[in-house]
Homo-oligomer: 213 residues x 2
């Protein structure tokens, strides 16, 4: 499978490494595809890993991952070319974090909208699934904590089923489906709480597990 | 310890039963303190249990619990008499759920305010601790799932320490302190997600556990 990842920060690199480790052909898209940090990422991730512009990565992938800062998400989609998303599964990992009042952050979308919904509205032909946004990048692939289900949402049931299979490949115990893309309001709102818990515990590997029968 | 509980729904009754079972002298305040359901509650909860008006209960308790519907919280405080809250620990269990668009609910406070903050602003002399609002009433006392820490927040550290001791009495593994009362924005935002998960799993005993080292 060809995977295009938009965003070269810790999250993009962690997911890129994860897909490459499972044998997928991964390209990370970045404003600076020749940076030292991305050269290091390519040499660690192996021969099926490459870098390019945002448009290169969006064109490369049959599956796309949006892993930019929340504030940059819509601009990066413009740079990548909205037509490159048509019909594709887009895994949206972004969070609309507002650091304008310092730490811990708030959200810049309120509770009657979400970044997931904005992205789905901007890309009506893409099959957007919100996923991975509620966990730290250290836990996204081969999580320390086993037996946990990822919280996801999105409008396309088949896309959510594909993501659930990928999650199982990555060491997750599947997913809990929080409904349509408007569920992103609450998946995103989990993140300011996660930051507060990280501060309280001085531990950024903490993770929410839903216990149920 | 004398406990006054404002609100006689499932949450108020569950917490009232919990405090009474630990030997505390509990009064539930209600608009209808002589209703059949409260007579049944008193006879189940034992001889240290009673009912009264909101003002009776607020006057009775050295510790108070606010367990009304979110939409009724501020009116019930007015009925109970704000001076009855001065200097007291107030455990705020309310959620600002907005069902105006049906199920699942949203929140009527946005993400730059919370019901916890509104209550603390309305009662500046009370020591408000947000607690129990993120879990279903079946799990509040003697939870099925052991080893879980409750998410709490509030401005008064001593009040949070008192609540943490009560939580241990109730079978919880203590608490995680999500910071000042503004943390209520995110504890409250967990509830629309909890409802969505309840719908997905068709299980209302589900509970969030924070896994950490």
């Amino acid at each position: 499978m060809k995977v295009g990842i938009l965003g070269s920060g810790d999250v993009g690199q962690a997911l890129g490494r994860g897909f490459a480790s499972r044998g997928h052909d991964v390209m990370i898209g970045s404003r600076n595809p020749d940076s030292d940090k991305l050269k290091a990422w390519v040499s660690n991730a192996g021969k099926v890993a490459s870098t390019g512009s945002f448009a290169d990565a969006a064109s490369h992938g049959s599956v796309l991952v949006l892993a930019t800062l929340g504030t940059a998400a819509e601009e990066v989609i413009d740079l990548a070319g909205p037509s490159n998303f048509s019909g594709k599964l887009l895994i949206d990992v972004t969070n609309p974090l507002d650091f304008s009042k310092g730490m811990p952050p708030g959200l810049f979308v309120g509770t009657t909208d979400s970044l997931g919904e904005r992205i789905q509205r901007k890309l009506p032909e893409a099959r957007v699934v919100k996923c991975f946004n509620t966990v730290g990048n250290s836990q996204m692939v081969d999580p320390t904590y086993r037996g946990v289900e990822m919280l996801i949402c999105g409008n396309d049931k088949a896309a959510k089923a594909e993501v659930t299979m990928m999650l199982k490949e990555f060491g997750w115990n599947g997913a809990i489906d929080a409904g349509g893309i408007e569920g992103a309001r609450w998946l995103e709102a989990l993140v300011p709480l996660w930051v507060r818990i990280g501060i309280a515990l001085d531990n950024w590997n903490n993770i929410f597990k839903v216990l149920h029968e």
